[in-house]
Symmetry: C2
Subunit: 490 residues, 2 copies
């Protein structure tokens, strides 16, 4: 066996362990009785520890040093990604990893108490420690990878995209929003406001409908499950994807959109390149790319005229209530300035992300002190959206990310939304039959197109390279702005 062959075996073993951990994570969220929590935490952390031991083993380091770049683009990229994964796992001193795990777990706990009472001071010191340790790790990681500390953090979630790529795209969008948002609001004021029929919409019927919609969208249930959990997610493994949602009996659209969002993630996983299963190059290309796949389904396909024309009669039939296309459009295509990111519409959502992107850069560079975060948040929010959060609960305390040590993640949401619009525009050009399928709830032509250009590529290419191959250019916010203009301003 060559060194590279040994590496592929070891990385497959590591990936298999990570699969086991992923299934246990799904179970914890969707199935586990409350009393199983302590043991489950230990099971998952034992698997993570073993996975880390395998990845940093001296034999791996020796093989990585000895392995020759295979004469094939896929295998060459695979070896490159193995080296990077090994470096990432090896470079941080154990003391720092453990201190950070302790600090984030402590901070997250304090945050859970601080948020409902809007008590930022009670979590401030803990958050300072999280940022100090995150910065220390980012500096080490950045030095190793040849990146700035913040870019090193970003690269954990989406390889190959840095602040310099994102900043002009976001600046461009900020400008767009200054005129587009008031115009969209003005137009909305002149429109009729047909409401959805009053609930309840029974959860069991919602679930059956969601399953049907996900299947029509292309999800293969011989390799997937749909279950319930407090926080919707897509987990599991490519041949056994587990998506979850929650059902609100007064609002069927929340679960329907949620399930179709997770279906977008699931389709990506199901269509990853089988030949590189459990190899680094066979994995999804990153969080921004992943989000582009959930959002192209949820925002581009499902909220299209064609799909809503399919959905309205289906809802009528399932719930025995008169749901009109107009009511669906009013609910699913409505802009509104609001304080909470997860409740934001697709036009204002990027403003929430832009704010966080700027603040977390400043927090990592040290230009902004944690103590000054609430004020900086409110100033930034007011400047972006023209309204000021009345308290920190609706401001800098709303998201778990920073308190849990996730820094550099937020841009993925908006990069994904923009990429989704860019991919949809290219798909529309290539697929004249697209709308006809959507009118039957059938996304197969879109999914086939995406599979060939995104899913089947695994991690062979980065975020911008995938867009370049699929659409002829790297990320360009113009497609997203054109999409919003068409949907909200005409």
């Amino acid at each position: 066996m060559t060194a590279y062959q040994r590496l592929t075996e070891q990385f497959a073993r590591i990936a298999t362990l990570n699969e086991a951990a992923s299934m246990l994570g799904w179970d914890a969220a969707a199935m586990m009785p409350a009393g199983g929590g302590a043991a489950r935490g230990e099971q998952i952390s034992t698997l993570a520890g073993l996975s880390h031991e395998l990845l940093t083993a001296p034999a791996i380091a020796d093989d990585l040093a000895a392995a020759e770049a295979p004469n094939d683009e896929w295998h060459a990229q695979n070896l490159h990604l193995m080296r990077e994964a090994h470096q990432r796992a090896s470079v941080l001193p154990r003391r720092l990893v453990e201190a950070r795990a302790l600090a984030t777990s402590r901070c997250e706990m304090l945050w859970r108490e601080a948020r409902p009472t809007s008590d930022f001071p009670s979590v401030r010191a803990a958050l300072e420690e999280v940022f100090a340790l995150t910065r220390e790790g980012a500096e080490i990681l950045g030095e190793t990878l040849g990146l700035s500390p913040y870019d090193a953090l970003m690269s954990q979630y989406q390889r190959g995209i840095g602040a310099a790529d994102v900043a002009p795209v976001f600046a461009n969008y900020e400008q767009f929003l200054q005129t587009a948002l008031p115009a969209a609001e003005e137009r909305q004021r002149r429109q009729s406001h047909e409401p959805l029929p009053q609930g309840p919409y029974p959860a069991d019927i919602q679930e059956a409908l969601c399953r049907r919609l996900a299947q029509a969208a292309g999800l293969n249930f011989a390799h997937a499950r749909l279950d319930r959990s407090a926080h919707p997610f897509c987990g599991g493994t490519p041949t056994d994807v587990r998506i979850t949602t929650r059902y609100d009996e007064m609002d069927p659209l929340s679960a329907i959109c949620g399930v179709l969002h997770e279906t977008g993630h699931a389709l990506y996983e199901q269509n990853l390149p089988r030949a590189f299963q459990r190899q680094p190059v066979g994995e999804a290309a990153g969080m921004a790319t992943h989000e582009s796949q959930s959002l192209i389904v949820e925002m581009q396909a499902v909220r299209s005229d064609a799909y809503l024309a399919y959905l309205a009669p289906l809802l009528n039939e399932a719930f025995g209530k008169p749901v009109s296309e107009a009511a669906l459009k009013r609910r699913l295509r409505h802009v509104e300035r609001s304080f909470i990111r997860v409740e934001a519409d697709e036009m204002t959502y990027p403003a929430h992300v832009i704010l966080r992107f700027r603040l977390e850069q400043a927090l990592i560079s040290g230009d902004l002190a944690v103590a000054d975060l609430p004020g900086a948040w409110n100033d930034g929010f007011t400047s972006l959206l023209g309204i000021t959060p009345p308290d920190d609960r609706q401001g800098c305390l709303q998201d778990i990310h920073w308190y849990d040590g996730l820094v550099g993640y937020f841009p993925s949401y908006t990069l994904g939304a923009m990429a989704a619009a860019q991919l949809m525009a290219a798909a529309r050009q290539a697929l004249p039959e697209l709308d006809e399928g959507l009118r039957r709830g059938d996304l197969s032509s879109l999914v086939t197109w995406l599979s060939a250009r995104i899913h089947n590529n695994g991690s062979r290419l980065g975020f911008n390279e995938l867009l370049q191959e699929a659409t002829g250019e790297k990320l360009n916010p113009a497609a997203f702005e054109r999409h919003l203009t068409a949907r909200y301003l005409r």
Copy 2:
């Protein structure tokens, strides 16, 4: 840290890995979409491989050699069990383990085809290989543990019990059966045969009822789930037990008895000593002991007059059908000579086990050739139960065990049934309030008694030592025979 402390950490880590594998096994049976099977097999085998690596690591061997026997019965037994587990895992050459895994998987596959067509010749050669490799392993294991090859196999499932303990108990029972079975049949002929009302008994109502009965029997659902699977089992971990069953809409008693059987297993797991969680001494004492706990619930408590008086009106109410106590007794306390072990009643069941116990000893010793198994089976069966299997499907092809390499397991079923009767007799003496609780479906006084004497002891004692402490004597088939005499002959 002392060597023993390091060992407790490593064994906890191994147990945690095994917990993860157990949850994945449950998921595969109860939740997994069909398409997840291949990946799941690899996940479980990767975990098993890592667990084996950890158990046989040189550092463990060094610590086992250096560790001093702690000055405490529990810890001393824990160290003893660690040494034994390490020996068992280390002693078999890798070549043999792999050859056996291959042979059993091949043989099991052939058996799945051979059974429905009653085609023993098609699986004969594969079964010969399984027995040859099992014998080779048993000889090595026996030499290491100071046991005969067959006793070494038995000890994998129930430590401390060998053929010499079992043979006289079984011979005694064989004699009992020669008069008891005809007498019970004769008595049955004179009884009324009140049938259960015709089905269907909807599965959802059965499930709700089973959950209620399991809870009343003491199962804590904050640490347990009840789900459906093709083959009922009890899996998971002590703080997160997973039991499963299947529902037959024409027969509610099959699921009810099945769930209460698994509840008996689950109660054992839930009440294992917490202070020794994930240590060898904190585990259940073995399969015969485990079976005694499922059978004391299913056979002793649930089929008692008192419990059936509670169950009949509950069934009436749940299904809106007139289910009488007499019909329950007729269904749940009925003896009948039959060919299939898993369908046998409690009186004839031991005959099925005795046959297998004798045949598998002869197959391991070489006194019986695999080619002669069908004839020996039918002769033995006829001698024990007076009827002759019409084909091998209803004879030596019916059970998966041997074809899957499980040899030495069968005695556990009957040892468990006998121990259950012996424990119940002692519990009845100690607990005058027992029947009063059973009349309310409440097993708490029995479970409390069993917890203190069996569950809470983990593996501190062996099968016979547990019985000795709980009942004043080691296994004695007299209690089981008295139980059968009272139930079927008076």
